[in-house]
């Protein structure tokens, strides 16, 4: 009997062994609730990239990938529950796709030693890796976005926007308020007047804000919205005949979902981005062959090539590249979360690497280091073509105003370090 039990136990251990060596990537997704229309394409892109790596390459460095999807409903409490439920599975990196969840998880992942990547969202000052050792926000953050918008407005005004009026229509939440400080500092530098127009959640009723815009006719409107707020804002802008080419949204206000309900009226609307659009890349041919045609696409398989699908795919690609870097650094395929953190901190994305991955000119080049967890702050501007039904990048990638942003990041991260009792450093 004893022998039988021992054999069974050994068998169980041996059977479990390959699972232990899997690379676990949790996906905190939201396929339900008011923000599902945005959560679904991102989650599909994220999942499909890992499926592609498993099917085509056998995983990363020979280790198969296991993705655990957990539904957050874009709800912070549920997001934290998902984290608690999945962290024991050997999760290598969290990407919660929610600024609220990111803020809640910052102390938790730091104490648990698991890296978190908030790509284009979350706490901006997490760029300072000396303070936020487990948090990464490359390739761009909200303050980069604010600066990109102003730089673009400067460009189309021959470098002079003094005396102009710029309105910020923002979601009245921690997320929406993120760019205010940066825009105020940039207003001091460039001499424009900043007009702040908060919109309460969820943003279905914005008449007051757009009547004010109609009365005061700002030269440009910048939008920091999410979900229904975006569609209503664009429709209201169309209603008051605000020029679309003077209306710029952050990258979370720049998907097909945001512009399509307004129809032809949305033509010319601009949005910031840190990645390219469409499916005209070699990688998508592999995706078609190994994932879509094989019937292994996530969800309904109908989101391929949309803006948020590409963003999810890009997020997964960056996670996979960091895992590869970690495997090289530690000379092992079976990496731990701590090793993954090292890989993320040593990540360098070059155009050559992107071309090798089948994504030439898809995203900006950047380099991560201990001091800089946010990359180089490059972004671009895209414009919606309503008749063609697609987004087109109308600028090259350009860098944010580091002269203004660096002191802000330093001040905010140091305040956090003091509050949390963190000794900044790279050791």
């Amino acid at each position: 009997m004893k022998l039988k039990l021992t054999t069974l136990a050994l068998g169980a251990i041996m059977a479990a062994a390959p699972a232990m060596a899997e690379l676990v990537f949790p996906s905190l997704s939201y396929r339900t609730g008011p923000y599902a229309a945005n959560g679904i394409p991102f989650a599909d892109g994220y999942a499909d990239y890992f499926t592609l790596l498993n099917e085509r390459d056998g995983g990363i460095g020979g280790e198969p990938i296991r993705m655990i999807e957990c539904e957050t409903g874009y709800n912070t409490e549920k997001g934290v529950e998902c984290y608690e439920a999945t962290k024991g599975e050997g999760s290598l990196v969290y990407q919660p796709l929610s600024t609220g969840i990111t803020y809640q998880l910052i102390p938790k992942v730091t104490s648990d030693g698991i890296p978190m990547h908030s790509m284009g969202y979350g706490r901006t000052s997490a760029k300072n890796g000396e303070v936020f050792r487990y948090i990464f926000n490359y390739p761009a953050n909200y303050w980069d976005g604010a600066s990109h918008a102003i730089k673009h407005i400067l460009d189309i005004n021959d470098g002079d926007i003094s005396g102009q009026k710029i309105a910020l229509v923002y979601h009245n939440s921690a997320y929406g308020k993120e760019p205010i400080r940066t825009l105020e500092d940039l207003a001091e530098k460039h001499g424009y007047e900043l007009m702040l127009l908060p919109v309460d959640h969820p943003g279905q009723e914005q008449k007051s804000q757009w009547l004010q815009i109609r009365r005061e006719r700002p030269d440009n409107v910048i939008m920091w919205g999410w979900g229904v707020m975006n569609q209503v804002a664009i429709q209201e802008a169309v209603n008051i005949r605000y020029p679309m080419e003077d209306f710029i949204g952050i990258w979370w206000s720049g998907s097909e979902n945001d512009v399509k309900p307004a129809g032809d009226g949305a033509d010319g609307y601009k949005a910031l981005t840190f990645h390219n659009f469409g499916t005209d890349y070699p990688l998508f041919e592999d995706l078609q062959e190994y994932v879509i045609d094989a019937g292994k696409a996530a969800g309904a398989g109908d989101q391929v090539g949309t803006v948020l699908y590409n963003r999810g795919l890009y997020a997964a690609m960056l996670a996979a590249e960091a895992a590869k870097t970690a495997q090289e650094i530690h000379d092992t395929a079976a990496i731990t979360p701590e090793m993954m953190r090292d890989g993320m901190e040593a990540l360098e994305i070059t155009e050559e690497k992107m071309a090798d991955l089948g994504l030439p000119n898809f995203g900006p080049e950047f380099k991560v280091s201990c001091e800089n967890h946010g990359g180089n702050g490059f972004g671009a501007v895209a414009q919606w073509d309503a008749s063609a039904g697609d987004w087109t990048m109308i600028t090259d990638y350009f860098q944010s105003d580091q002269e203004v942003l660096a002191p802000l990041i330093e001040a905010d991260s140091m305040a956090y370090a003091e509050e949390a009792g963190i000794e900044p450093g790279c050791d």
């Binding site: 229309a37 279905q204 007051s208 979900g227 229904v228 569609q231």
Partner: protein, 328 residues
């Protein structure tokens, strides 16, 4: 006319229009509460479900296509036809009647005589169920809804006010149509309640269930009818709000806009819902215009509730609600 007064007048008019849209949502709550004493938490989701169904029928989408495709490994999404808006509205109305029957048959028939809080809980369950079914039936992508209602600035008002005051007022065409439709809806509802046999039966049930039963009125039929009418009101609200923002799952949150209207106008009065909607709409817009900039803006959501609470202090039953007198 001074510039600020002109702006305030424009805000006032837009507040009235917004109030009509709030009232449209509140009307559905009132109808069900009045006839059955149920506070229908799912009214917002019913508006969403109705709008989703309408778009689905108009675009010829196959309901539950994701489930069918995943189960049978097929690629079916559309029937290949488009249904004209008017016909689609009629079909959607039929779906809402079937929904009303199912709600009555499978939920509330089994809960007759239960405490109001139990009935309220059941409507919470119904809300989540409907949201899930809507998602499964039609998918969770954002859908453009175009039933032919015009949107954008009304140029006649713009030009006329510009000629008169030197400042053109902005009034959205969609809001004007919503106001006309809401007015017609209220007239039809009042006529129905006052002058038809079914309407009188509905009022009798609202006054006293037992007495209505004793004279041979079928409670089942009346409640199915009331839920159907509430479904129709939800469809109208769904069309108006869905045209503004596209049909998407946050449409269900419009119910939050109806709560202060109900607190103010009373839960049992159709005119109360309209007047309450107008007061909330105008009040929140004028407050945002006058005080908003001093306190950082975004006052509309909380101010609507503050306004309703102030009214509650003086008239707990709401402006038009029935005064509750309980004798020991």
């Amino acid at each position: 006319m001074p510039e600020q007064l002109l702006f305030a007048s424009e805000v006032f008019l837009n507040g009235l229009m917004a109030g009509v849209l709030y009232a449209l949502v509140a009307l559905g709550f009132v109808l069900i509460y009045k006839a059955s004493g149920i506070f229908n938490f799912s009214q917002g989701v019913m508006a969403l479900f109705a709008a989703l169904t309408l778009v689905g029928i108009m675009e010829g989408r196959v309901p539950f296509s994701h489930v069918i495709n995943a189960t049978f490994d097929t690629e079916i999404h559309h029937f290949g036809w488009h249904v004209p808006a008017f016909a689609a509205i009629l079909i959607t109305m039929g779906v809402m009647v079937i929904l009303a029957y199912c709600v009555q048959r499978f939920i509330f028939r089994h809960l007759v005589g239960q405490e109001p809080i139990i009935l309220f809980m059941a409507t919470i369950g119904l809300a989540y169920f409907l949201e899930g079914v809507g998602d499964l039936m039609w998918g969770s992508d954002i859908k453009k809804l175009d039933v032919g209602l015009p949107q954008g600035i009304n140029t006649w008002i713009d030009e006329t006010t510009f000629d008169a005051f030197g400042y053109g007022f902005f009034i959205d065409n969609l809001d004007i149509y919503a106001s006309i439709i809401a007015a017609l809806l209220v007239i039809v509802l009042v006529l129905f309640a006052q002058y038809t046999k079914q309407g009188r039966a509905m009022r009798a049930v609202a006054d006293d269930h037992q007495a209505a039963l004793s004279v041979g009125i079928s409670l089942n039929f009346i409640w199915i009818m009331v839920w159907s009418v509430a479904g129709f009101v939800a469809l109208v609200a769904g069309i108006m709000w869905g045209t503004k923002s596209g049909v998407q799952f946050s449409l269900s949150l419009i119910a939050l806009k109806a709560l202060p209207v109900l607190m103010l106008g009373g839960f049992t009065s159709i005119p109360g819902a309209i007047v309450g909607g107008l007061i909330i709409g105008v009040g929140e817009k004028l407050f945002e215009f006058a005080i908003g900039p001093m306190v950082g803006g975004a006052t509309e959501n909380w101010f609507a509730y503050v306004l309703a609470l102030i009214f509650l202090v003086f008239r707990p039953q709401g402006l038009f609600g029935e005064k509750i007198i309980e004798r020991v």
